[in-house]
Amino acid sequence: MRREIALNDLERGGIVDAQEAVFVARLQANEDAAYDELVRVYHTSIFHVAFRMLGDSSDAADAVQEIFLKVFRNVQGFRGDSSLKTWIYRIAFSEILNRLRWWKRRFKSSTVSLDDTAEGKGPVFRLASPGPSPHQVLETKERDGAVQHALTKLSGDHRSIVILRDIEGFSYGEIAEILGISSGTVKSRLARARADMKKSLVRYLPVQRY
């Protein structure tokens, strides 16, 4: 199932620029309600990205809080050169990549067990509840765990691009803005990252007719 990225009306369409400008002005005026709305709209999508990048729920939650603090500290400097969403993701990836670099320096190795869920507990089955069968739940958990494991084997730069493109659905241009690189670099890094992912996930890839 394709995940719906948490967006509000600010991200859609033409009137949106004016609405977004008003919303940014409210943030810059330090309005309580604006910050509540900002957190409500973006905390889920930022958490998903942080979790995929960091591979740990509590680290991701901590990163999310730090990201919103940085948004608050820097919002006065937002001039609307990019969309608010892109700008927030740029801050998010800057924070997340810094954390990955810090861990790398500390030689922290992080692996994800195929049995782990996001909370670090084993799989939970609700046999009596309607919905997917235990077998399907197990398959999904295993597949998602394998994807997460494959992601952790990529470098931070490649992982960022794969998550932004293939999980979050950003365009090449948006990815370039978020990561501060050219579209050509996005294209080449994405090709290499996908090749590495394909090697790790070959048993989960049914051949499709294209």
């Binding site: 957190v39 905390h43 958490f47 919103f68 998602d144 794969v162 090749a195 394909k198 890839l205 499709q208």
Partner: protein, 226 residues
């Protein structure tokens, strides 16, 4: 490495990733499609990457901690109030700093000025020990009314020459020592000299702050004929 329709497998595989994202030009797409129609390996690569993209897009979203939104809002709120306090603090500092140095300098100069002018740099002990510190005395010693009457009443046995004495007045206003400056000390004037020393009462000299200090008084007795 095969080269088909002017495009190699390496070149074709470089195009496959952007091709599934519709990020190739129409010319590149045409070349790639021609190559794929004849190359099984590259077609398999395309199918694998398409499957990978489907797999990635189908990843279940990780469950968000229930209290994440609330905790983030609380932390943000704390940060904002801290920032507001810091803003006010910096404003107050900016306003007060230009006045701080002149104000401190003014206070210091005033203190030093008063100290120099009024001799307040010396301790009271110094006044008491050094009777030469007359310069800092503000009020000169004075005789009390009774003493003045006493001085008028005494009939010192003074001969023709003037008779002067110098008395040391302590901070209690009593003469505790005296010496004859001019004239002769004799049997005749000794009794009233003793009475003068024992019975006269003075208002001692005082500093600016009204504190009594040791001082000196000179009394001259002259016989007026007529």
């Amino acid at each position: 490495m095969k080269v088909l329709n002017n495009i190699s497998c390496d070149a074709a595989q470089e195009l496959i990733s952007p091709f599934i994202d519709s990020m190739v030009s129409s010319k590149e797409a045409h070349l790639l499609q021609e190559h794929l129609s004849e190359c099984h390996d590259c077609r398999h690569e395309l199918q694998s990457l398409a499957s990978l993209r489907t797999l990635m897009a189908g990843v279940e979203p990780s469950p968000v901690p229930e209290d994440l939104q609330l905790e983030t809002r609380v932390r943000l709120s704390h940060e904002r109030s801290r920032s507001l306090r810091a803003w006010w603090q910096s404003r107050i500092d900016n306003v007060l700093k230009p006045f701080a140095v002149p104000a401190v300098m003014g206070v210091m100069l005033t203190f030093v000025g008063f100290a120099v002018l009024l001799g307040n740099l010396h301790s009271q002990h110094a006044y008491a020990a050094d009777s030469r510190a007359v310069a800092v005395i503000y009020q000169q010693p004075k005789g009390t009314d009774n003493t003045l009457k006493f001085l008028r009443a005494v009939q010192p046995t003074v001969q023709d020459q003037a008779f002067s004495i110098q008395g040391e007045i302590n901070d209690a206003g009593r003469i505790d020592d005296f010496s004859v400056i001019s004239g002769t000390r004799s049997q005749g004037n000794e009794p009233w000299l003793q009475e003068l020393v024992l019975l006269s009462q003075w208002r001692p000299a005082t500093t600016y702050w009204g504190l009594p200090v040791r001082s000196r008084v000179i009394l001259s007795f002259v016989t007026v004929r007529g």
